[in-house]
Subunit: 422 residues, 2 copies
């Protein structure tokens, strides 16, 4: 693995990514460092977030690339003598080092430039300031196609989410709500998925509103592919964002972490229609963890497609909202509090949210499963690099997945994912 | 008006009403006094309730029938020197005295005996003890057809209410809920009306459960008449109750007050389907005023028939319940608190609940309108007697109703109700 040139980026490429040559040397170095750190880590890595907050992105890069010891990282975090912190730092290094490959990083940047993606980082006028409420779990930077400042400029923004398996009822209510909220001056944020997400985006576009999609994978490839045209249209007037580098595939873990960005950038989050297993319930959890108002739209109790919304009323104290007027009112309530920020800082990265069914693998299991393939057998090192976890951590998780029948180890010590029928 | 014989009741009739000759002299006198006080007053008269609590029913009768002065009533209430209390007592006397007619009272008792109605009063084994939470607004006694102890014996009881204008969805959910709650050992309480009420009763009967109806008028005439058969079937295994004497018509005011009995006797109240103007929202208000758990069933936001339920989520903090299991769990929560009793004692009688639209007449207006007829013109004295208000109070309310176009005064000084098309 070649790491020597990882900081020697091609200037033309990077200027294209930054959209101008306006950066001074300082600013440019900061943006480069954040791009690299984003490439090395998985979303919501709070150890990395704390390091950047403590010593800055460039010094953090120096720590990692120059092979400083974990104790240097721990002291950068202001925790020299703290055994737990040093242990955390050891684990963090093991997560980041498998990805220290300057060839892959450079290819990711070239790919970004090729599709016209821009990099936005904190301090830029285009940076969506609402993300700062995520604290140490805030993204290091955002990749964007479309209008980089679409979110930062929005005076009011609301996240409309729901299940892919939407009914006619859910789609009807979503379309009415999205159009009505555009009329009230809201930018519409969603996840670009089929079903409720797509309906929310389309209705906003039809009303000449600003709409914004957060993707779980790199924005060089629009996902799902059936929404390529829709996402291109969103980028014409609004923006498509992702915190992961171009070339990164959308994994389950990244979907769960992507949801915190949707929750954080909306003044409120509304779940329009969701079954009990919909990923939108995870977005709802992030919203309440952040102290953002959470709404849900009721539906017939005879419809399993609304059961997730009804659970949010019961278990998450979601506000019942039946139309755009009530959603707008919800979004204008006082939202984020200091306490909520503190909660978000500790709870976001390691926790896929309490809506995860008990029988499902935990956050680490999800990440390892994401990195496995059902077809090609992979080494622990490959899995570590793909998952952004340390090889030791991967080795600790695999036996559990094997016991649950989710992963298989072949005689050569390579691992594959088992197909599970539920 | 003849009042001299009002305490000289026919013994055979009264024994029939009490269902036995088991009463000693004391107990019989107490029951007679309560029957008379119930006849003189409108439901939820807290001044009367406080007097009975302070000096007992018999002494209260003596105060009223022997023509004691308001200051005697005020001192019975322990408020001798209190000008407000004396003013209240003056008003109370003016409410009760127009009904001091022993002929009408005796006819009411004969009618009760004829239909086999029984009188249950506090202290009887059959008295529904949950009503005591109403404090000074508790009924003085209950008239019952069927099994007098049906409610007192029920270890678990739940009130299922909703609109007359029910949809197929609402009826389906109600039938499933009622049957499921019977299976879980609940007695089903409702109001005997068309729509949701009737569905709740019928499903309980079909599951061989105990079901109980509270009527707003006298139980000698089943109301609505289309439910005569249903109410007769309820009385075969359960009970039909009312706090007003036989011969009393169901007026709007009495419906609103009847609702507090439904709310008080259920361990929880659930609104299954209700539009924004449904009377069941008033029952819901009583439930929360009493500290009883309140549930509501969501429905499509596109259905005006569920809009009242959705409002309860937003404005009354109702719990979202989607099936019998969740309703049973709701009813098993710790309910009534001391504070809630205090609230109920002050708020119940004079307040038709905050669900009343602002454009509607207030509680006094409702009572006066109830006493007016669109066909026959009535004197102020007649209106006072029918409404259970003092003539002076009636005269104070009528001009407002006239100004709102709800009542009309003819040249002879008689009043009629105007038909209003909305």
């Amino acid at each position: 693995m070649n790491t020597t040139g990882i900081r020697a980026l091609d200037a033309t490429t990077f200027d294209a990514i930054r959209g101008s040559t306006r950066d001074g040397d300082e600013r440019r170095a900061e943006a480069e460092a954040r791009a690299l750190l984003g490439f090395l880590s998985e979303p919501g890595d709070v150890v990395l977030g704390r390091a950047v907050a403590a010593v800055g992105a460039r010094a953090t890069v120096d720590l990692i690339v120059d092979g400083a010891g974990p104790s240097d990282l721990a002291s950068a975090l202001g925790r020299d003598g703290d055994a737990t912190s040093i242990q955390q730092a050891v684990q963090a290094f093991k997560r980041w080092q498998p990805r220290l490959d300057d060839g892959e990083f450079a290819r990711s940047l070239v790919q970004a430039a090729r599709v016209g993606a821009r990099l936005v980082v904190p301090g830029d006028a285009e940076w969506p300031w609402r993300l700062d409420d995520l604290g140490a779990a805030a993204p290091l930077g955002l990749w964007v196609r479309g209008r980089p400042g679409a979110l930062a400029e929005a005076e009011a923004a609301i996240s409309l989410v729901g299940a892919r398996a939407a009914t006619g009822y859910g789609q009807h209510v979503t379309a009415e709500a999205s159009a009505g909220l555009v009329d009230r001056g809201f930018a519409i944020i969603s996840g670009g998925a089929y079903g409720i997400d797509g309906t929310a985006h389309r209705a906003a576009l039809a009303s000449d509103g600003t709409t914004i999609a957060f993707l779980a994978g790199g924005i060089d490839r629009y996902y799902p592919s059936g929404h390529e045209t829709l996402l291109s249209r969103i980028a014409e007037t609004g923006a498509v964002y992702s915190e992961v580098a171009c070339g990164t595939s959308p994994s389950k873990w990244r979907f769960l972490q992507r949801n915190r960005l949707i929750a954080a950038t909306g003044d409120a989050t509304v779940v329009l229609e969701a079954g009990l297993r919909s990923g939108s319930l995870n977005t709802a959890s992030h919203a309440t963890d952040l102290g953002r108002p959470l709404g849900a739209v009721p539906g017939p109790v005879t419809s399993p497609a609304s059961a997730g919304c009804h659970r949010l009323f019961r278990e998450r104290d979601a506000t019942c909202v039946v139309d755009a007027a009530q959603m707008a009112e919800l979004a204008s309530r006082i939202g984020t509090s200091i306490d909520a920020r503190a909660v978000a800082g500790t709870g976001t990265a390691g926790d896929a949210g309490p809506t995860r069914p008990a029988a499902e693998p935990g956050p680490d299991g999800v990440r390892v499963l994401d990195a496995l393939s059902t077809r090609s057998a992979r080494s622990v090192d490959d899995i570590a690099r793909l998952s952004g976890m340390s090889p030791g951590h991967v080795m600790a998780v695999l036996p559990g997945l094997e016991a649950e029948g989710l992963a298989r180890r072949d005689v050569g010590g390579l691992w594959t994912r088992r197909v599970v029928r539920r």
